[in-house]
Symmetry: C2
Subunit: 418 residues, 2 copies
């Protein structure tokens, strides 16, 4: 067997699984990312709501690479790929490849709403979560000293756009932060007057799940005092207000956008067709059309299955990463794999304390059991044993004491400084 | 008893102890800090060397204030004090007081060495530690791709100025990070070629401790491959070099300064005499001369005892904070306290794994026992039970597995970006 050089761009859910498959198989595997860590994005919202320290949801790539023989990590921002020359272009020089697996993920899609983009927070990177946490806590500090009642209320109003899992989980975690923790921290504020408004463009939350789950989620969130607006869209925003499609104005100091994602900018510079969301249509074996040596996985890849596009989720990325790794090995052995097939194991979202929804294998379950399964699965998929312990510790702490310890304003880099 | 308004500036070691004494005594106690947390500064160097997450050494002031009846927290930067009007001036308006306790701490003193200041890192704030950690890890990432051997060496050379506890502890933690952790992370680098140079102006390390402890520390650090230069001073610095008093040039990408502190800038705007280090000479009861209602505590206060100035350390600040709180209560009861007297319980410094020096009650002990005492005392003084567990977990992890989990480059805000 000839030793091949396999470059993997992006150490997300797909990339690290491809790396794990390819390690120790006699090939030279180069791991490239602009961060030196794998980030567990699904828990970013808990960092933003003061439930977890940022370090507990990230894990050093070099620490992982130690146990992956034949892999090397290269910290770099990828600017492009020269498909003809078989070279990845980075800020620190080109990296040649025999096989390339691209999984650079996605970025937030504001659909051209510039005023919304410039006044919104989102959660894609680790620093985003710390920035948003600092912003939320600073808003309450400002509310304490704000003499104008309307201004005070706006400082304590949080508009969340998008009723998908991120919007639902963030809304639930935020209202619990306010009611269980900040209410005790700020006796001088009427924290019951704080508003968490969840704006969803369609007629139901968690559209990817069965309708009964959406109904439960809606009822649960409203029971927790989250104001859920269905069939509503945010069309404009200013520093202290959010404007809906019908002209309604919500005076709000914080706008959080989770209403869309699009492929990472790297997708745009690849010489290939693109979908509306910037994704790259791939062959049934996840390769770039005309380039059987280049795989595109995860959020960047566009592939239909049973007439529908595969969703931009972690489970899809993980399965694609594993497939891409195996496919490279299979090609080298001269026995190509059958086409990629995504096995949908279900989906879930946590709403709050003791409450989550999960749908798997045709079964829908809700409430405490779903919440427990959610906790265990997230701990399981979190990379790093120490991280699991720290996260579990924080969760137990919160569950028992209604305390979130990380309510620290660590930087003064919020969009609206004090 | 008349209800008095007592304002405490600074939630450091002194401020929180004064607050604890004054809480629940029928007075109105206002706590002011520009951060919303108490920072355990003595462990900043462990955050900088990837041993601890930053959140584990900080604790929310509002969380503490919950259990202190009659206290209120005010997040603000103090710009001055109007001693005649009895008002603290802040960025968000004046705060009147009947009694004022000022403990704003200290900042790094570069003694006018501008080139050194602009190329140095220091450790006073939480963000400093994260910035320094990111810088150190980025230096190793750059060393991987640096083709020039001299440049590679400079990237892996760290000059630490000041042989006090901070310099010694940081040097030990850094060389252990390199030898135990990064050596495994960077198989492509000759990490044994990394240099940690500790520069001390006098003829011994840990000058505040007995000479035998200094000798042990020197021997131990040298045994760990730290290059200790005694009777040496750093006089100039550039982006990739450090220049000593004798003209010697050390090519180094990182310069860390712990060779001096001076009183926080707030001291300078107080209408009072100042010492060379900007400290404010106080009366034997820690009050400002002519202002029996204003206390100055901790690093900002200058007081001699047995012919020598009290050191700018956490134990002094803690005892001063307790005294100031008690003194206010005593004055209100009409029974003033005897003058402040600092009880020196000893001092200690950790050098590395299983090695520390401690001197207390005339007894000097070293090695494993001192190290264990150091660990326990630091856990004891750390605020927040959850913090103690997380810190202990990290220490156990490091001790057993030689792993420091927080080796994440979380921001790209280093002084010398990649």
């Amino acid at each position: 067997m000839l030793k091949k050089r396999i470059v993997i761009i992006g150490m997300g859910f797909g990339g690290i699984r491809a790396a794990r498959i390819l390690a120790g198989k006699g090939h030279d595997v180069v791991l490239v990312d602009r961060n030196n860590y794998h980030l567990f994005q699904p828990l970013l919202y808990q960092v933003a709501t003061a439930g977890l320290e940022q370090e507990s949801i990230a894990h050093s790539v070099r620490a992982m690479a130690r146990s992956w023989p034949g892999t090397h990590f290269h910290l770099a921002e990828v600017s492009g790929v020269d498909l003809a020359a078989h070279e990845v272009q980075t800020g620190t020089g080109p990296i040649p490849y025999d096989y390339l697996i691209i999984g650079a993920g996605s970025v937030t899609n504001y659909f051209g709403l510039e005023s919304v983009e410039s006044h919104s927070f989102d959660l894609k990177e680790l620093a985003d979560a710390e920035t948003l946490r600092n912003h939320i806590l600073t808003a309450f500090e400002r509310a304490v000293i704000e003499p104008d009642p309307a201004g005070k209320r706006a400082l304590m109003t949080f508009v969340i756009v998008g009723g998908g899992p991120t919007g639902v989980e963030f809304a639930g975690a935020l209202i619990e932060l306010v009611h269980f923790v900040l209410a005790k921290d700020y006796p001088e504020l009427s924290t019951h007057a704080a508003r968490v408004v969840l704006v969803e463009a369609t007629d139901r939350l968690l559209a990817a799940m069965p309708e009964e789950q959406s109904m439960y989620t809606l009822k649960k969130l409203r029971g927790m005092s989250v104001e859920v607006l269905l069939n509503a869209r945010v069309v404009d925003a200013g520093p202290e207000r959010v404007i809906l499609h019908d002209g309604a104005v919500i005076p709000a100091h914080t706008l959080f956008w989770s209403a869309g994602v699009k492929a990472a900018p790297l997708a745009a510079v690849l010489e290939a067709p693109h979908t509306a969301g910037g994704r790259i249509p791939v062959e049934p074996d996840l390769t770039l059309p005309g380039h059987p040596e280049v795989y595109v996985i995860g959020d960047m890849a566009y592939l239909e299955q049973a007439g529908a596009a595969l969703p931009m989720t972690a489970p899809v990325a993980m399965q694609m990463g594993i497939y891409a790794g195996r496919s490279v090995l299979a090609k080298e052995n001269g026995t190509p794999l059958p086409p990629f097939h995504y096995h949908d194991k279900g989906s879930m979202a946590t709403i709050g304390r003791n409450a989550a929804v999960a749908s798997a294998f045709g079964i829908n379950f809700r409430g405490y059991l779903a919440w427990l399964v959610w906790l265990l699965l997230h701990l399981y998929y979190l990379i790093g044993f120490r991280n699991r312990i720290v996260v579990m510790l924080n969760w137990v702490w919160y569950y028992w004491f209604h305390e979130r310890q990380v309510r620290l304003i660590t930087r003064r880099d919020t969009k609206h400084p004090l």
